[in-house]
Symmetry: none
Subunit: 206 residues, 4 copies
DNA sequence: ACGTAAGCGAGACGGTACGTCTTGTCTTTTG
DNA sequence: CAAAAGACAAGACGTACCGTCTCGCTTACGT
């Protein structure tokens, strides 16, 4: 799946330059259509019609609908739930979990949900999702978990990535597999129970 | 979404009776097509062609492709991973988790994956999945967890359904959201780590 | 095409006798449906639904829609424009022509129009129309024309059937080919002009 | 009903221009299918298959089967029986009548016959037939009749259009209503008898 | 009176064609 | 050379009827 954001590497692009208005009109149209009528409403045809852009222009830059939606998802996700950061790793983990849950209830949730369907059929979509969404975030999370381990807040005999699975699994399972709504209360309870298992033995906190 | 398996409750069905051969030919065709070419290959048109059944007959009994696939999924799931049972609740939980993981790598996994995509767009599919797949299994699991609590193997301050989320979340997250392969080793590790957190404080590790 | 009206020639029909209510309910339904929505509205399915009769019962007695409509047409035509009769042949011819024109503007016209379309594709329909509608009426007309010839009102060097063509041609051409409305004035003018040509030379009437 | 032949009036059509090969392949396919299997054989589906053109392309240019067949009819009719012309009006009329009769026995006859059935149900078809076939030809004939009246060959107290009805009625009645074959002998006899009535009283038979 | 033969309702079935929709490609002119 | 416009091939969609079939129930005649 192409990444469409990079500027041309060639020195001095010839001919008519790419229209940036077209690009943003397209992404805006995808946004609107998905918001209004779900993923299916955002057919390439409909996107072209709503954005006032020719179908060919869309196909010139994105190979299919999924990569188009993916681009919107990446932008949205980074805006709405940036990777965790901060001096207190446990707090950062909890905040991140809550932010992801919140984002899942919004447009980003819709987009991701829809892409999962496509990914099932199209391995390119699956790989792109992995590389652009899951892998970076999982590693960011693992880094924070490692910090928590250094600080003695999490047992060192759990692989950081595995700890991430335990933390995020229940949230994603409920939201994207069972497709139920996810509340802050649910996420907090998950965090509490998982951390109860990850904290070093004989060192009960609070 | 209709359930198509129950016999008529009325006393003496009038008219020509439903053809059972047609029904099983259809489900078989769905099975074959999904196995060979994925969910998209199982268009109603293709199912009709392969099964030698008229399209109208399919539409008579299933309102859309999703409910057709769902029916196959329910049958497959029950065959391949029946609800947990046995005298040793911990063993039953572990076995069930492994069975579900195994089933996820087979046809049932494909079917469920595909249905998740449809569910995103069609609330009827979502509800049907809940009622026919998730809810029964989650409650069966919760029941076993309650037995484990009675036996003192799991803390009593964790809601059984919540414990189920912790156990199954990582599996489903990896398989159906990230769409990675799931190994027995992964499932065993998840089971071990989650149970470490769920075991009562006084009970030293075995 | 079967004629469905005759009683069985065998002495005493065995089994349940044909339901006369069913027959008339069917014809009535055809009548209503054609009146309301044209020939296409009178699908076998619709006729069955409206008349409360099973499709099989219709197919038991009529091989197809056309023969069903034809039966209604024959009944209607004979009721609405019986063959010409009377002592004054010229008057009888004129009256008959006017009656046929009038009937053409009603249900019978619709039915015939529709059957012409079917006849184009189905030779059985064409033959049935010939035998049950056109041939009897053309010969009845020819007979009257022959009377007029005896009475010296029409030249004897014109074949009676040919004279019939000249008389009825313009009417049918306008009504069933061009599908325009036909007025009494038009018919009268046709009659006048055709008779002007058919009257014996040097014997102007009126 | 659209007329599909005219070029765009605007200066320089945008977008990909209409494929003329597609157009003629379609009409050719209609021709072949109707010739071989009658009007019913020329389903849109079959036309698409035989012409190697997509169904959508057909529907882009013709709203339904009837208008497609009509287009072929117009082309065929003009090729096979052009409007009457010549210095001798009586001769032109006779020739035209014979030509029309001859054309009626060929493909044009089939096409027209079939369209009459559609016209019964669809007023658009009826109007299109009127405007594209009947009206122009009837007026062309009326013009020649007027010439004959000027030349003293036909009485002036008969409206030219009415004279046309008398001439063509018997032919169309026999061919398109009764659906019998029409021979040159029949047409000649009709011409003779009708003209006998239309010739001025003073003009003795030739 | 009773069996048996047909008529009848209901409705499932294998088909065909419909007209619409979307996909992704192509061929033009315009900027 | 990009973009807009829009024609094109392909193919699935869900619907409408077709004409056939298999049921179980009804009606009347023949023993």
């Amino acid at each position: 799946m192409r990444s469409n954001s990079e500027p041309k590497s060639t020195s001095a692009a010839r001919g008519r330059p790419r229209s940036l208005e077209a690009r943003s009109a397209i992404l805006q149209a995808v946004h609107d259509l998905v918001s209004k009528g779900g993923y299916n409403a955002a057919s390439i045809e409909a996107v072209a019609a709503r954005s006032g852009v020719a179908k060919t222009t869309i196909y010139r830059w994105w190979p299919n609908r999924a990569s188009l939606v993916l681009e919107l998802l990446v932008e949205t996700a980074n805006a709405v739930a940036p990777p965790p950061a901060g001096s207190d790793p446990m707090r950062a983990l909890r905040t991140e979990l809550l932010l992801v849950a919140e984002a899942s209830e919004g447009l980003a949730g819709h987009l991701l949900s829809a892409l999962l369907g496509e990914a099932e059929c199209d391995p390119e979509v699956r790989d792109a999702l992995q590389q652009r969404i899951f892998t970076p975030r999982r590693h960011a999370t693992a880094k924070v978990i490692r910090q928590a381990q250094e600080a003695g807040e999490i047992r060192k005999d759990v692989a950081p990535l595995m700890a991430g699975e335990l933390l995020y699994g229940p949230l994603f399972y409920k939201k994207y597999v069972r497709q139920e709504h996810v509340t802050a209360a649910f996420v907090k309870e998950v965090f509490k129970q998982v951390m109860a298992g990850l904290r070093p033995a004989r060192a009960p906190r609070k």
